[in-house]
């Protein structure tokens, strides 16, 4: 079943000579439970695309449907509700509240959605357990490593059981070991049936996707399935056979 779809999507900034066509005529279908990665050089429009898909920004033209609802035609209040209830965002710079503990950060979206403090706390602790951070619940972000902070941010994105998680360069600020922590977490989400769209220029996280889209100058230029159809055995990769 198609969860998210876009048709003829465009986004422009500026006017006249300063006009930037960040996204040009993009079409996309994301199936339920699918992980899609959009890869491209910086400035190719992939972050803008993600913001528009998640209702953080308005498209200049085109249609976006999330779970059958037209995001591009929705009023501000409807859009805000959609963002809160149906979409989980993960950003490169984590965007955690520095003065709140891990568990307080994670429960915040549920509190904003009107859940009871007790329910929100129970859910937040569950999510921290799921992301392997049960013992860090009372830590401030400053006391956590980069990988741990991003895992808290992922837990927060899941607070309202979103239909889809949108991630913008989730490993962009992480070293190799921390990247692996986040890769494992995304892999767990994927196996649990979570729908994910990741925009990145990190090939490691792109390689975890079912489907990879290449973006250049605001347009999709290549698309490929990464599942199945591999040609190399690991022993070949390791150079044991030629």
């Amino acid at each position: 079943m198609t969860l998210l779809s876009a048709r003829g999507l465009g986004k422009e900034y500026g006017k006249g000579d300063g006009l930037v066509r960040a996204v040009r005529d993009v079409g996309l279908d994301v199936q339920n439970g699918e992980t899609v990665a959009v890869m491209g050089p910086s400035g190719c429009g992939k972050s803008t695309l993600l913001h528009v898909l998640g209702g953080l920004d308005r498209p200049s033209r085109g249609e976006i449907r999330l779970a059958g609802q037209r995001l591009d035609q929705m009023g501000e209040r409807g859009l805000a509700r959609m963002r809160r209830d149906a979409v989980g965002f993960v950003f490169q710079a984590f965007h955690l509240m520095d003065e709140l503990t891990a568990v307080e950060n994670v429960e915040l979206p549920a509190l904003l959605a009107g859940r009871s403090p007790r329910k929100a706390r129970t859910k937040a602790l569950e999510l921290l357990d799921r992301t392997g951070l049960a013992d860090r619940a009372r830590f401030l972000p400053s006391a956590l490593s980069g990988g741990q902070r991003q895992r808290v941010a992922v837990a927060r994105a899941l607070a309202n059981d979103p239909l889809i998680v949108l991630a913008d360069e989730p490993t962009g600020n992480l070293d190799s070991a921390a990247t692996l922590e986040v890769l494992r977490l995304f892999d767990d989400l994927h196996n649990a049936g979570q729908t994910l769209v990741i925009v990145t220029h990190d090939s490691r996280i792109a390689a975890t996707a079912d489907r990879l889209i290449t973006m250049r100058d605001g347009e999709f230029t290549d698309e490929t399935r990464l599942t199945g159809g591999t040609t190399g055995s690991l022993s070949r990769l390791a150079g044991l056979e030629s």
């Binding site: 050089p41 190799s176 692996l180 890769l183 494992r184 892999d187 220029h201 090939s203 490691r204 792109a206 390689a207 975890t208 990879l212 290449t214 250049r216 230029t221 290549d222 490929t224 990464l226 159809g229 591999t230 040609t231 190399g232 690991l234 070949r236 990769l237 390791a238 150079g239 030629s242």
Partner: protein
């Protein structure tokens, strides 16, 4: 150097051996500096024997190897097309891939960016396999370290493909 490289360099137009050498020198810069001068001629002779190239001497000129004009046969052209479509890895032969892009663009045989895309698809699939295997290993396993090495090598290759993409995108936009 692979025979196919010489063959593909010839795809642009019928050429003398010294023209091929000049093209290689131009494409390789310092990397090709200590290339054996005779290698091009040896390879051309082999390709001729294999029926992939025909050599004709200009009339009235002495029979010297560097005076011959070499041209692809139909079989030769087919071999070039096959080689351009091949996705060769893990042999980290950057030079071969680099020359593949140059030859494809020069002879207008294929879009270098499409070749880069095909290579990237293949490497990403391999990265996915290696990474899944790495994630399945406990952190303390020896194999995890080897797999990390494979992942890092693939990442390095993918980063170089990004550089190829940037350069060839610029060239395409200029032409």
């Amino acid at each position: 150097m692979q025979q196919e490289v010489i063959l593909a360099m010839l795809a642009k137009e019928p050429s003398h051996g010294y023209e091929l050498r000049a093209r290689l020198k131009q494409a390789l810069g310092p990397v090709g500096e200590d290339m054996n001068a005779g290698q091009v001629y040896v390879t051309l002779t082999r390709l001729e024997k294999a029926g992939l190239v025909v050599a004709t001497s200009a009339p009235g000129v002495q029979e010297r190897p560097d005076r011959k004009v070499h041209e692809l046969t139909a079989d030769g052209q087919q071999r070039v097309a096959e080689w351009l479509a091949e996705v060769a890895w893990p042999r980290p032969d950057l030079t071969e891939f680099h020359l593949k892009l140059i030859a494809a663009a020069a002879a207008r045989l294929g879009d270098p960016l499409a070749i880069v895309d095909a290579q990237r698809r293949e490497l990403l699939r391999r990265l996915r396999d290696a990474q899944r295997a790495a994630m399945a290993e406990p952190e303390t396993s020896d194999a995890a370290l080897l797999l990390e090495g494979i992942v890092l090598r693939l990442q390095a290759d993918l980063r170089w493909l990004e550089a190829c993409e940037r350069t060839w995108t610029t060239r395409r936009n200029q032409s």
